[in-house]
């Protein structure tokens, strides 16, 4: 076993080296500085996102890939505040700014200024619409739709669904919900009989679900947006109702609950979300642009799906209380770029 693992290790090292060599026709970015402009840090997903960035950034600086990979977070999650922050980053002379934006449009002025100053701008997760920036977007609609499609395979007879939405008025919430409703329209054996806003927080979701449950008929499935599945499960339990099929969102407490239920009664479900490590994907895309690679402006982030088969493995690698994560490598970024070309 030892030898075979070593061989695999050597092989993957060789692959890495190959990848690095393949990229070597590009310019050296060792003297380039990349900054992360982040608008919010107040939940576990964003914390994991920042941590991924810091770890990978420190490694990239140590390896001499870039000169700096610093992270900056605004304190009030305001677009105006982030616009001022971006202007500061331009003045500080960063070569590239990676943005998780507070608003798709409100930062466009600051982003344009950055582009005009010759700074590469890559937005991800919370993207900006300014054409000069790169966008690493999540297909939230497809995410919502795939939840219903999964339910259709598990519950061919259909039934009543409860929808837990995110934060009202946020673009992501509208998109995921639109995808869910599109999925329900195509699978008309399902009907959404109740919809609440859980604000992507377990305690808020628990409260909202507990409030609507008494007025609902039997529920066969719960479609969610992430960060709300465990709270929903608790509310069903407190109401003394049978646990429906709840689609989860990759949080560790959700996966732990899933594993416990599976061991107790064979519970089966699906968990999907965006890995917080998408910040590292954005880093490598920015690095590739700086290196002179031709990168299409619109890229798509792959979902991180956890199934019955990968549950134990993912659970083991996720820190307690955190969220399932992947750190993307240069090769992953090159693959995503190649896929979009």
């Amino acid at each position: 076993m030892k030898i075979s693992t070593m061989l695999i290790g050597v092989a993957s090292l060789a692959l890495c080296a190959g990848g690095a060599l393949a990229g070597s026709h590009l310019a050296n970015t060792a003297d380039k500085r990349i900054a992360l402009s982040n608008n919010y840090a107040g939940n576990s997903w964003r914390q994991a996102m920042l941590q991924s960035w810091e770890e990978m950034g420190a490694a990239a600086v140590a390896d001499g890939v870039v000169a700096a990979a610093d992270a900056y977070t605004t304190s009030e999650s305001q677009a105006t505040e982030q616009a001022a922050q971006i202007q500061n980053l331009i003045l500080q002379g960063y070569d590239a700014i990676v943005i998780n934006a507070a608003s798709p449009t409100a930062l466009n002025g600051a982003v344009k200024e950055a582009c005009d100053a010759g700074v590469v701008v890559v937005s991800f997760d919370g993207i900006v619409t300014e054409p000069c920036a790169w966008r690493i977007a999540v297909d939230f609609k497809a995410m919502g739709k795939s939840e219903v499609e999964y339910l259709a395979t598990r519950l061919p007879d259909g039934g009543n669904l409860l929808e837990i939405r995110g934060l009202a008025g946020v673009f992501v919430d509208d998109e995921i919900s639109a995808g869910i409703h599109e999925g329900v329209a195509e699978n008309d054996q399902f009907e959404i009989v109740g919809s609440v806003h859980g604000d992507w927080a377990q305690d808020v979701a628990q409260k909202a679900v507990a409030g609507i449950l008494p007025s609902l008929p039997e529920i066969v499935g719960v479609v969610t947006q992430g960060g709300d599945g465990y709270g929903a499960a608790q509310a069903f339990k407190a109401a003394g109702r049978p646990t429906p099929l709840i689609v989860l969102g990759n949080r560790q407490d959700e996966m732990q609950w899933w594993a416990d239920q599976r061991d107790a009664n064979g519970y089966e479900t699906l968990s999907l979300s965006i890995a917080p490590g998408v910040s590292t994907l954005a880093f490598w895309v920015a690095q590739q642009v700086l290196a002179g690679d031709e990168v299409p402006k619109d890229l798509t982030v792959p979902f991180l799906k956890i199934t019955q088969d990968t549950l134990d493995e993912t659970l083991a690698s996720t820190p307690e209380g955190s969220v399932a994560n992947v750190t993307y490598s240069l090769e992953d970024a090159q693959q995503v770029i190649a896929g979009a070309k």
Binding site: N43, S44, D203, G211, G231, G321
Partner: protein
């Protein structure tokens, strides 16, 4: 007539009406479930509301905006210290209350020494508390000890344990306000701080104890909420900022200070949960839900305050 003159009657009336409307939808089914949920979730709003009520009673400009951050910090540190280990529930409680005490002390010292308006002082301090919470545990959700979680989600005589805590606290606050010298001092300070000082009321001691009380209540609420919902989260307190002020105002306490109302806080806490549940049950869209909630809240506040005007 005497009953109608009570400012808290409007909050309780509104709570009863929304309850009836929600249950009407299901023709009576689920009434017990809904009442139980309202008592559980209303308890958290009531606990922070009672604290906020004391501060608002201090008079114009007094409000504690650090409640959400204090809740988060207290819950985060308490759950981290307990580390899901059995038999640590009291240790966690002590830590949560101590964090609340520390936050209250900090808030008051900022107000006293730097002469900052309370709104600015508590808002600025809340950024520090929130950062401490982030720094101490980076948002990882640690489960509460099993026995504590069972207590927080359990019931006693059919009433949720958290509601018993909230009710007990309400009785304590009521006694302190209505039957103790401190309560008289607080009301006098809220009605006219200068007059109270000249009359020999130890105004600064009253202010200090009030700012300590609100933060200790917030620490307790954070501890209970985290135990109830399976762990502390960085954004767990967010909705309790406006909630704590709303339940005070809807409950019939004068926003200008000098007049508090304990039963109204509980009525308003139940109402705030029930109105969202009702609108959700009727399938109102998010925008409409917010507009209706706002309109209903304004209507109750007007109803409660015109009553007082005619007195």
């Amino acid at each position: 007539m005497t009953l109608l003159a009570k400012p808290w009657i409007w909050a309780w009336g509104a709570a009863a009406l929304t309850f009836a409307l929600t249950i009407g939808l299901t023709s009576g089914r689920g009434a017990g479930e809904l009442a139980y949920a309202a008592l559980s979730f209303g308890a958290f709003a009531a606990i922070v509301g009672l604290g906020q009520m004391l501060v608002i009673t201090l008079g114009p400009g007094n409000v504690d905006l650090s409640i959400p951050a204090t809740m988060t910090l207290a819950a985060t540190l308490a759950l981290k210290a307990m580390g899901s280990m059995p038999g640590t529930a009291l240790l966690g409680l002590a830590i949560a209350l101590a964090v609340g005490f520390g936050a209250g002390l900090t808030n008051y010292l900022l107000i006293l020494l730097l002469r900052l308006p309370p709104i600015i002082a508590t808002l600025a301090a809340s950024l520090i508390y929130q950062s401490l919470a982030i720094w101490s545990n980076r948002g990882l959700r640690i489960k509460p000890p099993e026995a504590l979680a069972d207590f927080a989600t359990g019931r006693f005589f059919g009433v949720p344990n958290v509601a018993w805590v909230g009710l007990g606290l309400a009785v304590l606050v009521w006694i302190a306000l209505e039957r103790s010298v401190w309560g008289r001092w607080l009301l006098a300070t809220g009605q006219n701080m200068r007059a109270a000082r000249l009359a020999g009321v130890p105004v600064e001691r009253v202010r200090a104890s009030t700012y300590l009380a609100v933060s200790v209540f917030a620490g307790l609420a954070g501890y209970l909420l985290a135990s109830f919902s399976g762990g502390a989260a960085l954004n767990m307190g967010a909705e309790y900022l406006l909630m704590s002020i709303a339940v005070v105002v809807i409950g019939g306490t004068s926003i200008a200070g000098g007049n508090s109302n304990v039963p109204g806080v509980w009525g308003a806490a139940l109402f705030m949960f029930l109105v969202i549940s009702m609108l959700n049950s009727y399938g109102a869209a998010a925008g409409l839900k917010n507009v209706l909630t706002g309109a209903i809240v304004i209507a109750i506040v007007i109803a409660a305050s015109t009553r007082k005007g005619r007195k």
